[in-house]
């Protein structure tokens, strides 16, 4: 199976990464060689195998629903690329 340019552009869109045509062509070459390598997995019969999702196969621990950190708004906003007092600011999303 090979990944064509159209698919590359679709994946880029899903990934929220803008790419130009030159970059898309590079990625087409790289991803195809990587997937050729990945597809050796098809040689293995896994019909009766249970997937391994995590090594620590324990259930998540429960904890009390208690606030532990308070009044850290300023600390959190400090790293924001754009802010307005108490909020993160993004380009306008409603007309």
């Amino acid at each position: 199976m090979s990944i064509n340019l159209k698919t590359i552009k679709h994946i880029a869109k899903l990934s929220r990464i803008s790419i130009d045509d030159k970059k898309a062509k590079e990625l087409e070459k790289d991803l195809n060689s990587i997937f050729e390598f990945i597809e050796t997995l098809n040689k293995v019969d896994t019909k009766k195998v249970e997937p391994l999702t995590s090594i620590a196969e324990t259930s998540l621990k429960l904890r009390g629903d208690v606030v532990k950190t308070k009044n850290i708004r300023e600390k959190i906003l400090k790293n924001s690329p754009d802010e307005n007092k108490d909020f993160f600011v993004v380009p306008k999303v409603v007309e």
């Binding site: 899903l14 990934s15 929220r16 391994l52």
Partner: protein, 485 residues
Amino acid sequence: MSDIINLTLSALIDKIKNKELSSQEITKAYIARAEKSKDLNTYITTDFENAIEKAKKFDEKGNFDYELPGVPLAVKDLFCTNNLKTTAGSKILSNFIPSYESTVTQHLWDEGAILLGKLNCDEFAMGSSNETSFFGNVESPVGKKVVPGGSSGGSASALAAKLTPATIGTDTGGSIRQPASFTGTVGLKPTYGSCSRYGIVAFASSLDQAGPMTQDVSDAALMLDVISKYDLKDSTSVNFKRGDYFKSLSSNIKGKKIGIPKEYRVDGMPKEIESLWQDGITLLKKLGAKIIDISLPHTKYALPAYYIVAPAEASSNLARYDGVKYGYRSQGENLISMYENTRSEGFGDEVKRRIMIGTYVLSSGYYDAYYLKAQKIRRLIKNDFDEAYKSVDAILTPSTPSSAFNIGDKTDDPVSMYLNDIFTVPVNLSGLPAISIPAGKDKNNYPLGLQLIGKAFEEQNLLNISYSMEKELSFKNNLQDWWIK
């Protein structure tokens, strides 16, 4: 001063405790050497002024009972450090100043250690040569224009060049062990769940694990004592009975059963690696261990499975970098184009490749064929180890299929770069502990490492076997300080 930087971590601690050396003397010695070693490009951020201040405070009223009393340490720039820039080697985090501390680095400071600065690494720990860092290549002290390995390349280079007495890295597919092998140092990847992942910039959450990188095995045990602790802030942290690793070190390995997996004898492996491995086997026999041939039949599928699982998790983990709450932001005419431009400009090529692979294998219609398939292969790989561990206590392999290569040699072909991790990746997929110890040199005088893989949560056993081997190997890097200006 040259005496100071030649001391191992444990020797340094003894001298501090005996008041033969002050924290200030030691800290200044490492800083002076770092100032002369800028060409290696090991540091992304230095915190030297604060380090001297902290050392002064320690000398005035420090607690000498700490495990790391007044010891200066530099760490990989993947660990969040409170109020000190943490970049993960990426442009997208190039201005990020965390408001909290990672659990493992907090353990270091709680035991008296002093932060020197943050060490270079591949961007988001994705790479095997430290060539994907936004902050440039790192050179290895073992040779000019030679890569230190990756992703913990800055850590390995700084350690080998004696810019820090020990360090910590992270290992998702070999990122501690491969650079340790390339630089003649010791690198330990603990069992998944041993060291907290809280505050470590996430790459692939089911594989990531922090661990020590040190000059010798005793130092690795000492560092593991400090950083391996149960942590409620990491939901995959495991509450098992941890050993007293340093105090319990023993070089008596008589009767230990060591497995030799035939599948690690790969095509095209250099003769010197083959003979390094053979010498390791001979040495273990001499030390009284029993050598047993084993089979790990699914080994060759580990790397392709890894290149589904790791990018899939990465694409999900890296979705948070959108230019809104922190990090680099580009412009765009609307919200979506701002996201797309931010991520396009903020991530480097290798990171973009992996996000795209991950997005693809998780996308509708491909999930079963790729992601689910890889998880099933992961089960088979873990089953191979479970089966082997019915008859052996540990497994010996080479750490890497080659010695260190030159900067630029493998950057054009992603798959050839990925093959570096062929011997280390199965360990992460199975969550097992493994250590790389320097065991010899190649024809260029570049170091070569041997890897010991252990049973889950049996780090002590691994440390003891490598400790006993290290004594006999008496490896010396003998670097010529060519990079000192």
